[in-house]
Symmetry: C2
Subunit: 908 residues, 2 copies
């Protein structure tokens, strides 16, 4: 109700910190104002009453000619919306009170400087006049007086400027009110109105802030840092917001007002030096900083003013910080005993973790760039990561320059369309001047992991002139810019970036271990009412090769949820053997080809088992789920078009009457044979065709070889002292009878290998749940399957009836843009549809087999929202790409904390 | 427990009809015998006791040399399995008793004829000797004695034959037992064993008779119809089993045994003539027929023997009958007050109705063929209907002769494989010598409605000689045969067939009306516990054109459940306009093309509304559900291959160095333009691509035109005095937001048209439920949709993840053959998977909108098993092809009766 600023001012007042007397008009008043354009009944009376209290506390009187009270009128919503809403300072000045202020302060320049600022602010903010109208007059005056900067103007010049500013308002048929109450009333109304200003609405859309929150209005007694060298003003963070270092961090200026610090006209002093200038006030400030941090248990971002040696706190709030700082601060505060491990885990976001794994801009170099005036614009941080490149204004050129000229490119467009995707994929980064977090550009960029800033509305793009402009700063096609998709900032020129290594990030690693501990607690699912393990999710990884498995382990994965065996088939030296196997006219020849493939499969599996251990000494294995061959066979053969092109050469040669060489003829014959195979395997909808377990039933030799390779590999490493945990996963099951057909004959091979090798280890057979029918008949399927792994990519495809590639190109992006789908269901699990089937499958599956192991592989395994849902339905693990493992570990802990505390327990 | 034969003999005995003394060994004894190969404890003692009772009742003694009792030992399972199990007659004869019989009957020829028959039967059935061994000896004897047929042999010859037969058994190291008890014991055991004989097992597989029923064994006192001209034997039906006519129908022979009637060696007499020959017995028989029909309330099939003027009933059972007879008998029996309308409806099967709608063989001509010895073989009736054609022994030749030579062909194979489908589709009928009701041939044939007989195992096919043989009867490739898929019979040469017209089948129409009445009762769903209408299913039809709608009405459909509007787009004169619309570069040009299509759509819709009325006088409309455009646009364009072929001509011309004519150049340019459009619309999985509502959101102009056409049509006929009930169906909805986007803008058009035309009528907007997600989120979707229509074809595709065309070719038929799938889910609804989603959707949908109208369109709408399930989950209607409407009406009534009587209430 009080908004962020108002609440914090009130809180500071409550704990007896020095805050200038103030009162707050609530967000409720703002909301009541919006439909009618009128203050709700009683508001003005209450404001007048509160004003009297301020007058009493400050010993000054609003509008009094001898001892006038000046106030600021500041917006303050629940969530910070920096620069999006209006503020008016120095309210209470008019021709009469100005004179009184002069008499009181003996500082005519200060008073008329304040007065002219009031008229300009009031004129632009409240009366809606163009700011340039005032700036033009100011520039003229400076020229006339030979002044370089505003502060070169003396009292007389400023007094003259006040009159000229009044004339500006009149020229626009508006009047600056001399009635101070009218000033207050109109300023308050202007703040209310700014809640629905275009800038504010756009910002809320982009950041998902609800429209019905409204803003509060804070009427705060003015205090002045510009009343001489015993005065000053500054901003400070209790810790370094870039690095997290535990050291006061800030700037101040003596004899200056707040905006001077921000505007950067004068060089600010480092906050440490304040101790030399104004020691008592500085000491008091240090104490206050400490008090505030302990009170809020968080790093604080503060504004203060010292008026004639007396310290006033004007604002405090939780400070914004970089990902690195967020992690270090959370870690330090636990060690300082300020917060618990749970709070630390909740304090950092999955985006924080994610950005620590993407290339990032060097913070120092960024600061240098800002100092050099190379900050260019900011927009919505649509897809994280840093990108440096040359600007191109269309997709074709971006692609050409990227591919042919090997340039690093940034594609810049007002907005993007499906036609632009080839350029977006070729670019290092994407920048648009329009659109929000769900615009086409944003959705596509996130999809493909390209850093992206959208809706940088300050940028004017001129596609004819092949250039863009912000405040006169022109960037021409081919020039370099730097785009920070993590923060939404855009800079001119190049900024240094680096790819952080997780191993070196002690604080992050520690917090992730805390996250794991939280998940492992036996009670984390107590409030959910789901069957299955009471502990929360484990995080496993998808890894096809031993090197992926090692990375996954180093990132904290405690299992492999998906090893795609067919990837091994695509290796250049293996593919010809695979093709020979597919084309084999007899079962013997097929088996012969498969026997050639067996050793390489086995050796890859051995590598996986060796990598997936708790430590090299104990060699206790983590589960390794190996999926049997899934794709349709035609994927291993060349495309029909390629082959036809070869064959057509023959037809043309015949017609054109020339003879082909022997080599060509032979190649064409081979192509014709291959084309025949390709055509016989052609399917009109291969996604729903002969693949997965269907293929294994039609041609069991392949999976028989694979199971032999898996168990020979496990047996071999077991003989080396490892304790492997192989789990064989059968893909695309839709009917329990498919398992009944294939699983026993595979289990026989498993047992045979263990007998041959005279070794024993535990293993599981299970299935993907990726066909809707499998989810619906999970009770039957769990009769055979010892584990379920949700293949949410395919399950989403079938449940929605979307062919993923076709859909994203043809309508899915449009659906997300138009809000027909709230999110891309291939990125974030669709809880209502796909999720309902999953929940059904877990419940029914565990009824048939209470110890059923349930997990998820596929891209949703790395998406925090989807991970939360997996926790909610009682999954044992999520499996994601090794790079997403840290994010997933944090997300799993967030879910565990959210539900075990009983804070929220809803499907949404 | 007593089996069919035993139970009926017992029942006849109970109601005091003349049955020879007998006893029955139960099926339980048979089941106890199977695992051990031994009679269960006490069985033999009980048999001996029962034998004594028979001896007492008959006044004869088993094995007695002066007054011997002879018995038959007959199998008799719960369900009739004609010819599949064994029977032994004349048990009790040995060298001693034969002499006693001669003394008693003074008929030496009769006694030794019986004795030699016993030894032959016993030899082949019980001792397992080859029947030929006996036949050879018999033939030799006939040659020796100059006898043409068996009956030419005199007593002496037969006596000699007895000795020779004994020698045959000895030559095979077996012995015919002179101990009559041993005869009885071994014969009983042989019947038990025959339950698990190959023939019997195959038959049970094909007819879904459970293996664990077992057979009973009936030990029946022999009576003899061959003891002179005061004796005889016959079979009779209480009504004509071919036509249903209410008139005794059968044959008899004086001085003959049962097998003589069946074997057709002597010409039988019509049953009516028995009144002349043996009036008292005939009169008694007439009374018994009447008694039995009234007792069993069904047409009876009886066997009787008259021994020296005394009538004995040897069997009665419900008579098998043709479809036509089944219908007439059910109808007549209601009128005679014998059964209720409900019983009549239950008495006829959906197969009966179905076969009355397929071409059928003329019964009289079939009888003639049988008399002429043209009956060739019989097998499993796999796909109903009659087919006459020339035999070809492979698929390629069948296709070639059908297509190129325009012949009517019958494809004959030992069995079929997926490679054979092109031949099967080209043939008029299919015949195989192997396989059962779920073999590849059977599944494919039913799928495509080709009459088919499978597993006619008597036929020996010789693919090298291009011929087939049964008992020496050779059919060479190209010769004519007739295949009756309804009965499983195969005949040589041509048999006349006819296509029955429903309109002329008064009895069937009446029974279907009774079926409708049963469905319409308000209580038919009382026991199911489902929400929705308490009345059972209505039957609607799928109809795209007015002529289909009129047929549907004449077949009793009371609504159109699916009108596919895009079929209208494929009409040759409209397709170019559709293509122009698709290729239109601007929205104006697109709208212009659509405006050209509107009048034809509107006029088709007018025709539908006019056809779908209760009667021409009242013009009350039935609901007409019109589905908006569904297929992807590329379906309206030529195939890429076609276009590429054209374009390649140019490339070849260039390379070969000749110039193309102007016409060619122009055509190639058009082809290139078209190819571009085709390629841009290409999808890797079109089934899951841009179609249905997705297409409507991308390109709303098409459906806007369609809705305008629908409402203009409805308004026009309303102005003519009709009361149309249009229902607009939106296809492929997966998310409620799709409806939220499209439905309001279509409803605005509907309202606008009604205002323009100043007319009002009721209408609905609804959706297909064919995407699994739609079923899972039905509660949300029912918020907008006023009706659901399950598109079970697509829903099955998505739920199973089967692309229908690919799947049936690649693995689905194999799955059904191997029993991985119990049935083809595209023919019979998969209750566990797809069905569970449907049930969920109905329940959730009705929670959101209690009056929700729910139906099913797609092929399952005509499948009785699926129709039953639709009844069980509370659907309002099923919609099927007009030709299936009569079948569906009966199936709906069967479901209603099954569940309202509470007989069964299960999902299975």
């Amino acid at each position: 109700m009080l908004g962020g600023k108002g609440a914090n001012l009130a809180e500071m007042t409550r704990i007896k910190l020095p805050v200038p007397p103030f009162f707050t008009v609530t967000t409720e008043a703002c909301n009541a104002y919006q439909p009618t354009g009128k203050f709700p009944e009683g508001q003005w009376d209450q404001m007048m009453e509160a004003l009297k209290a301020i007058e009493k506390a400050s010993g000054k009187k609003f509008g009094d000619a001898t001892n006038p009270l000046l106030v600021s009128c500041r917006s303050g919503a629940k969530f910070s919306m920096p620069g999006m809403m209006d503020t008016v300072l120095n309210i209470g000045l008019n021709d009469e009170t100005a004179k009184g202020m002069v008499a009181l302060t003996k500082n005519e320049r200060f008073v008329y400087d304040s007065y002219r600022r009031l008229i300009q602010m009031f004129g632009s903010v409240v009366l809606g006049l163009p700011d340039e109208a005032f700036e033009d007059v100011l520039d003229e005056m400076k020229k006339e007086k030979g002044a370089k900067v505003d502060t070169d103007l003396d009292a007389a010049a400023l007094k003259e400027l006040v009159e000229k500013f009044k004339a500006v308002t009149k020229a626009h048929k508006k009047e600056f009110p001399q009635d101070v109450l009218e000033q207050l009333r109109l300023a308050t109304e202007a703040v209310f109105k700014s809640w629905n200003g275009k800038r504010a609405v756009d910002y809320r859309r982009a950041t998902n802030i609800p429209d019905d929150l409204g803003t509060a209005v804070n009427i705060v007694t003015m205090v002045f840092g510009n009343m001489g060298n015993d005065s000053g003003t500054g901003v400070a963070f209790t810790r370094n917001p870039a690095t997290g270092e535990r050291k006061l961090y800030g700037d101040y200026l003596l004899n200056a007002q707040g905006e001077d610090v921000v505007a950067g006209i004068r060089n600010t002093e480092k906050i440490e030096n304040l101790g030399k200038d104004l020691k008592p006030a500085y000491d008091q400030f240090l104490t206050i900083c400490d008090t505030l941090e302990k009170h809020y248990k968080n790093m604080q971002d503060m504004e203060f003013t010292i008026e004639r040696g007396r310290l006033w706190m004007l604002q405090t709030r939780d400070g914004k910080r970089t990902a690195a700082a967020a992690i270090k601060i959370a870690y330090d505060m636990v060690n300082e005993g300020l917060i618990t491990k749970e709070e630390a885990v909740l304090r950092i976001t999955t985006d924080n973790v994610d950005s620590m794994l993407h290339p990032q801009f060097d913070q120092e170099d960024k600061k240098v760039a800002k100092k050099e005036g190379r900050f260019y614009a900011s927009g919505v941080n649509a897809s994280p990561g840093s990108a440096v490149g040359q600007v191109y204004f269309d997709a074709d050129l971006t692609e050409k320059m990227s591919k042919e000229e090997k340039q690093d490119t940034i594609m810049v467009r007002p907005f993007t369309k499906p036609d632009d995707v080839h350029g977006m994929l070729a670019a290092k980064g994407i920048l648009t001047s329009e659109g929000g977090a769900t615009s086409h550009a944003a959705v596509v960029a996130r999809q493909f992991g390209v850093p992206c800033v959208v809706g940088a509305s300050a940028i004017k793009i001129d596609l004819d002139k092949r250039q863009m402009v912000v405040d006169g700063k022109v960037v021409k096609e081919g020039e370099w810019i730097s785009v920070d998709g993590t923060t939404g900032e855009v800079f001119l020129g190049k900024i240094k970036s680096f790819s952080p290594s997780l191993e070196e990030q002690k604080e992050l690693l520690t917090i992730l271990n805390w996250a794991d501990e939280i998940c492992a607690r036996p009670d984390v699912r107590a409030k959910l009412g789901v069957t299955g393990p009471k502990r929360g999710l484990q995080v496993w990884a998808n890894a096809d090769y031993p090197k992926d498995a090692r990375r996954a382990r180093s990132y904290g994965a405690v299992g492999i949820g998906l090893c795609r065996t067919e990837h091994m088939f695509f290796e250049p030296e293996r593919l010809p053997i695979v093709q020979r196997m597919i084309l084999a006219p007899t079962s013997e020849e097929r088996t012969a080809a498969l026997n050639e493939l067996l050793p390489s499969q086995r050796s890859d599996f051995e590598g996986l088992f060796r990598a997936m251990v708790d430590n090299e000494k104990d060699k206790n294995g983590y589960p390794v789920i190996i999926r049997l061959i899934d794709p349709p066979l035609h994927e291993f053969l060349p495309a029909a078009e390629e082959l036809q092109d070869k064959i057509i050469t023959q037809r043309i040669a015949n017609l054109a009457g020339y003879t082909l060489g022997k080599g060509d003829t032979k190649e064409i014959a081979a192509a014709e044979k291959m084309l025949h195979a390709v055509e016989s395997l052609h399917e009109s909808n291969p996604m729903m065709g002969l693949r997965g377990v269907r293929l294994s039933i039609a041609m069991p030799e392949i999976v028989e070889m694979q199971v032999r390779a898996i168990f020979e590999a496990a047996a071999n490493v077991a003989l080396e002292g490892y304790k492997p945990k192989p789990e064989v996963m059968i893909p695309l099951t839709g009917h329990v009878n498919e398992l009944k057909w294939i699983q026993p004959r595979l289990e026989r091979i498993a047992k045979a290998v263990m007998e041959e090798k005279k070794v024993n280890f535990s293993y599981k057979f299970g299935t993907m749940i990726e066909i809707p029918r499998a989810a619906v008949t999970a009770n039957e399927i769990a009769g055979l399957a010892e584990f379920f792994s949700f293949g949410t990519n395919d399950l989403t495809q079938m449940t929605f009836g979307y062919s993923r590639d076709d859909a994203e190109r043809n309508f899915l992006i449009t659906y997300v843009e138009q809000g027909i789908l709230p999110k891309n269901p291939f990125q974030t699990l669709d809880r209502d549809g796909v999720g309902r089937l999953m929940r059904l499958a877990v419940e029914d599956g565990r009824k048939a087999r209470p110890e059923l192991e349930v997990g998820i592989c596929g891209e949703h395994g790395g998406d925090p929202n989807s991970i939360e849902f997996c926790h909610m339905i009682g999954n044992n693990y999520v499996s994601c790409s090794p790079f997403r493992v840290p994010v997933a570990r944090l997300a799993a802990a967030h879910a565990a904390l959210k539900f075990s505390s009983g804070a929220e327990n809803t499907d949404k």
